[in-house]
Amino acid sequence: MNAPLIIFFVLAAMCVIGAISLILQRHPIHSALSLIVVMVALAGLYLLMGAEFVAAVQIIVYGGAIMVLFVFVIMLLNAGLEERTNFSKLAGFAGVPLAVALTGLLAAAVARSQDTVQAATQTGATAPTKALANLLFQDFVYPFELTSFLILVAILGAIVLAAPRGES
C-alpha cells in the first residue's frame, strides 16, 4: 500500500462519486459541478501518470473553458429542477446489481490479461513537454493543422447559430 496507490484510490473514488452525482442530481448546475470535480480528479490522475502537460491542458481547456460554457448556458437558459422520471423500480432493483456484476466480470477479465500490457517502468522522460511538442509539430502536424481549421469552423458555426434573428 504505497503512496501512489493510495492517491490513485482517492482520486478514483472522487471520479466515480462525481459521475454518480452527475446522474443522481436533479438540478443541472449541480450536475455541472459534479462533472468539474470529475475533471479535476482526472487531471490529478494524469499527473500521477506523469502526463503533466495533459493535466494542465485538461484543467485549462476542459475545466476552465468548456465547463464554464456549460455553466453559462445553464444560467442563461434558466434551467430548473428536473421532473421526477418514472422508470420502474424493477429496473433499479434488478439492473444495478447486474451492472455491477458485469463490470466486475470485465474488470476481472482485464486484470487477468496482464501479460499483454505490463505496468510501465518509470517513464524516463526528463522533459515530456518538449518531447510532446516535438511529436505534435513533426509527426502529427497534419492533424494539428486540421484541428485548428476545425476550431475555426466551430467558431463560425457557434456565431451563426447564436446570432440574434433578423441580422445579416
Binding site: 502537460f53 494542465a56 464554464v68 455553466v71 513537454t129
Partner: protein
Amino acid sequence: MIDFLTQQAAAHAEILITLAKIIILLFVVLTVNAYLTWFERKVVAHIQSRWGPHRVGPHGLLQPLADGLKFLFKEDPTPAGVDKFVYYLAPLLALALALTSIAVIPFGPNPLHFKGHDIYLGITDLNIGVLALFAITALGVYGVALAGWSSNSKYPLLGGLRSSAQMVSYELALTMSVVGVLLMAGSFSLREIIDGQATAHGLFGWGGIFRWNIFAGPFPQILGFLCFFIAAVAETNRVPFDLPEAESELVAGFHTEYASFKFAMFFIAEYTSMITVSCLCSILFFGGWLSPFPASWTFTHYLPSVLLIPFGLWVIWDGMRYETIFGKLILPGVGAVITALGAAFLLFPAVNEFIQGPFWLLSKIFVFLFVYVWMRGTLPRFRYDQLMSFGWKLLLPVSLANVVLTASALLWSNR
C-alpha cells in the same frame, strides 16, 4: 515519547518541512493582504488630498485589525431562495484558488541549510509552473459565476455573468502574452525562467537590468509585459476594469448578497490575486530576484541596509513626536526592530547574501502593487462594451503579434 516523535519527524522530514512552509506562507500572505488594504486606502486617500485611516492605531496601522473584527462579528444573513450549496461554495472556491496560486511562486534562489535538509524558499517548483498558474486562474471564473447565479437576484446575476465573461475574454490575452517569455526561456518552470534571465543576452550587451526579459535580446518583451499587465488587471476585476463590481453601476455586482465573512473571502481572494499577479510580473518580465545592477557591482549588496537603517531611524523619530501615547510607545519599537534588521544585514555577510534575492523580489512586488493602487486612485472605469472590444480587438491581436515577432526574432538570431 519525545524520542518517538523526533524519530518520526526525521523520517518524514520532507513532508513536515513543506507543511511548515505552507503554514508560514499562509500567515504571511494573509497579513500582507490585510496591510495591502491599509496601503491602498492610504495611497488612494493621499491621491485625493485626504488622509485615509489615521485614527485606529498610529497612522491607521491597526485599521486592518478593526476591519477583520468587523467582518467576524457582523451579521451574516442568507437571502431566501438561494441555492444553499452553491451559495456557500462560491466564496470558498474563490479563496481556495487564490491562495493556492501562491504555492508555485519561488521567493529566493538560495536554499536555507537546516540540519542536512535544503529548504528552498517557495513551497514547490513545478515543471509546468506557469501552466499551473493559468489553470488556477481558469478555475477562478467559477467563483464569480456561481456567486452571481446562486444569489437569486438580478444585480448579482448580471454582475456575475458580465464579470465571468470579462475574465474568460482576458484570459486568452493573458496566456498569449506570456508565450513570448516562455519562448525565450524554453521552460515553464518559474525558477528556470529567472535563471534564464540571469544569463540572457542583454540589450546592447549590457548587464544587470538589461538582461531582464523586458529588455533582453533578441526581442524585448515590452509589448508582452503591457498586454500581460493590462489583461491581469482585467482578470482580477480591478480598476479600470471593475465595472461588474462597481458600486455606482450594479450595487456591488456579484457579491451584493454576500455579507460579513463571505464577502471578506471574496475580498481576500481579490487582493491575493493582485499579489500573485505582481509576483508573476516581476518574475516573468522583470528578473524576479535578480538585482538591476550588474553582478560585478558588489557594493550594491549593502542597499537593503542602506534603505532600512534610515527608514527605521525615521520611524523612531516620528514615533517620539506622535500625538497619541499608544503611538509614542509602538512606533519607536517598530522603528527599533527595522533599524536592528538593517544593522544585522550589515554585520552578518552570510545573511546579507541570502536576503539579496528576496529583497529585490519583494521590492519589485511592492512596486507593482503600488502601480495597481495608483491606477485605482487615478483612472476612470471602462464601459462594458468598451472593455470587451478592447480585450478581443486590441489586446488579443497585439499579444499574438508579440508571439510571432518573438518567435521570428529567436529564429533569426539562432540561424
